[in-house]
Subunit: 240 residues, 2 copies
Amino acid sequence: MAKYIEIGKQIKAQIMRGEYTSDVPLPDQVSLAKMFKTSRVTIQKALDLLINEGLIYSKQGSGTYVKQNINLLSKFDATVDQYVGTTELMRGHTVTSEVIDYDVRLPEAKEQENLNLAIADAVYDFVRLRIVDGTPWKIEHSIMPVKVVPGLNKGVLHHSIYHYMHEELGETIGAAYRIIRAAQPNAYDRRYLDAVSDTPMLEVEQIVSLADGTPFEYSFTRNRYDKGSIVVYHPERPML
Amino acid sequence: MAKYIEIGKQIKAQIMRGEYTSDVPLPDQVSLAKMFKTSRVTIQKALDLLINEGLIYSKQGSGTYVKQNINLLSKFDATVDQYVGTTELMRGHTVTSEVIDYDVRLPEAKEQENLNLAIADAVYDFVRLRIVDGTPWKIEHSIMPVKVVPGLNKGVLHHSIYHYMHEELGETIGAAYRIIRAAQPNAYDRRYLDAVSDTPMLEVEQIVSLADGTPFEYSFTRNRYDKGSIVVYHPERPML
DNA sequence: CAGTGGTCTAGACCACCAA
DNA sequence: TGGTGGTCTAGACCACTGT
């Protein structure tokens, strides 16, 4: 573990314990360097992490300050800006999957483009009903390339795909693009999620990539309007 | 402009021009340092920016590579992970606002909490119908603290609030929290957006802050399911 | 083992802010 | 004008990869 990450964690812990407030600046970088017995540059890198997380901000020539909205941050903390599979998110609840549809076929044009595939690269095409504590929760329709996620049989689909990828294939998940929209209920929604014509559905279309940028999932996830929302945190970011 | 940002831009431009592909690694840091006549550490900082943008990734002991999904990135580029007011987003179209409701009052409990206000801090409470090229598009219900955004009269509401804040008040926008959900149409939706009982609505509840973390907007924005979606890009991020 | 990226240091200089 | 954060350098050492 890099030293500056370690220091960043410690400072974050201090902020969370309320040792620094928005009223007064943090100790200056030179003092912090002395306290942590390191160089000023290392302190700066540690603070950079906290700035990226939206916890603090620096004002050249003035000091480093805790933001006024840390309370908000902690409230959203659990759900913010991280991608984990459904199973992980619902820790403490029983999540099971019913495989509604399962196929291996050649990709359509849009899938080729989004998953960066040649026309002969086969894909898995499956629909799963996710069930939480015994009640139907959401429907996931996923397309995954065989060459990126080999061995995705029905047995795996009943459990966590993300767990399988991490533990069995040794892959780490990277960035995700999502398009979020409202939609009218379709046949699946009516049949499995108990939706009727005036039940708004929330749909997430997403492309998820591995750490090296290889896209491995193109999926559509739908749930009833009263069974879940999406939380997003958009930090300010240095623009290139 | 910091040197490493300048270098980052140049390398980004090279990547975008296709001078580097995902097949071969970029030149190593030492070579780049020589090419740009700077130190290796500065190169590393420049590359860090590109890694944060999800353009490239580094593998210790091996090299630095362009991700396979740059093509995707460019496609989403315009809408990704940035907050700008409605007016800005619709450049090239005529956006006007009709003020449906306008009030100054004391904050409710939830507003106090989300906007970090005392009970006596007055807020503006207004509802605007945003109209694009003559057709009703979305309804924005906003709560803003008077002490943070003074002088928000009806005249300003007809134009861009974000423009007003930036140009008149000299404030810069920082992070935003958003909760996105589907919803059944309410009275406003039916009246102004031509929604009926089976028209799903997309609602965005958000808290937007200034650069120093002061929250200045708590709002609910709604549009018909067929009049807009939300695009989100979630890069992988070093976690603390 | 050679080559690559990752981290850290100590010191220098600059830019900005407040008194 | 003194104190603060922002940037940059040159060099050192470490960790990992591929041959």
